[in-house]
Symmetry: C2
Subunit: 225 residues, 2 copies
């Protein structure tokens, strides 16, 4: 497989520095040149690591001044540890159950006509994929995303995206098991989604939340009987 890149090493090294040196939020960390020297790599590598750290919200670079700690990774990363050791659990489904049901309720209440059209379009894409018996992960996910977007609250999308890769893994694993996908399953999945979309269209908040909860519940049952 693709062996680890040096920038991964630099990334971990910088995190280690922040943790071990107990740098407070706002503290300046060593200059790029110094970090490069410490890790025995070039400055370009350190920069790639810093770009990722900044993208992760851990550091922040100020031109001419240096790079600064924006939020401490400390226990944040430690808490992630157990997850990587776990097999693909259905834990993310539990969070979806909570999050998406509520997002669905809010979407029904607040949706604009433009957002509704966006949702309908997503539904159409999913229908097409399911009826042509193609793999429909992407379309399924996309429809759920558009519903979350229809809340008008981007924070729902942030949380949704954070769970995405994990959910995708679970779904893919589930499909590998029952690759054939009998027609009644297709019909059921289609109907469940259509009920959700219809409730949002009708601005039926409770109905939408209930339909989403039912859909996720059944989906989990299908994956793990």
């Amino acid at each position: 497989m693709n062996q680890a890149r040096l920038s991964d090493h630099a990334y971990a090294g910088i995190v280690e520095i922040i943790k071990s040196k107990d740098l407070e939020v706002g503290a300046r960390l060593p200059s790029e040149a110094r970090l490069a020297e410490m890790f025995g790599v070039s400055r370009a590598i350190v920069r790639e690591a810093l770009v990722r750290l900044a993208s992760d919200g851990i550091t922040e670079a100020r031109r001419g001044a240096g790079s600064f700690v924006k939020s401490r990774p400390s226990d944040r990363l430690a808490a992630f540890m157990p997850m990587s050791e776990l097999p693909a659990t259905l834990g993310s489904y539990e969070v979806r159950f909570v999050l998406e049901a509520e997002a669905c309720r809010l979407a029904a209440i607040r949706r604009t006509s433009m957002e509704m059209a966006h949702v309908e379009e997503g539904m159409e894409m999913l229908r097409e994929a399911l009826l042509s018996n193609a793999p429909a992960h992407a379309e399924d996910m996309e429809l759920h995303r558009r519903i979350a977007a229809a809340t008008g609250n981007p924070a729902f999308l942030i949380a949704f995206d954070a769970l995405w890769s994990d959910v995708e893994k679970v779904m893919r694993a589930g499909v590998d098991i029952s690759r054939s996908r009998p027609p009644e399953v297709i019909a059921t999945m289609l109907r469940e989604h259509e009920v959700i979309v219809a409730a949002i269209r009708a601005q039926d908040a409770e109905g939408a939340a209930l339909a989403m909860r039912w859909h996720l519940w059944e989906g989990r049952r299908r994956l793990m009987p």
Copy 2:
């Protein structure tokens, strides 16, 4: 303010290429040298953009072969657009309201004694910070995190962390307004958290969820009267 870096431009440009050229998942995108030429920047800049794209799960680099589309950003980024235009909203509070109340309920049910000790320790840190009149963002957040961790479901932590930076921004802005922090506010915050922790300790699921919901509701009111 910190003006936009060239790598931001390259990042957006590459996303645009993936979207406009309708590159499927798995498609190879132009080589780094070619992209550099297209955007009129050096290869190092393109690499920094690609590192971020890879970190965002959009592309994947294979040594010697090229960079490939891993998941299409399409509407994903478009849906984020409005957020960057918004001022710091309280949208993330809405999601916390949903997410943390449920996490709190599950934590009360499932907590192990070790997780409970972790929560108690977080509570102690918060109490100390509040009573010494120090800024207590970090401790507040940490306690909430440990409660989420006590569900035993890492997916809650994933969602929590995704919202973190946004919530932090809102809280910091709120504190700037009322920098003095009168003693009755401190006492209230302390009491609210203590009620939550006590409910989790007593494994009172409904009480824990209710206490968390109340706490977040009041917190939002304090920030935006």
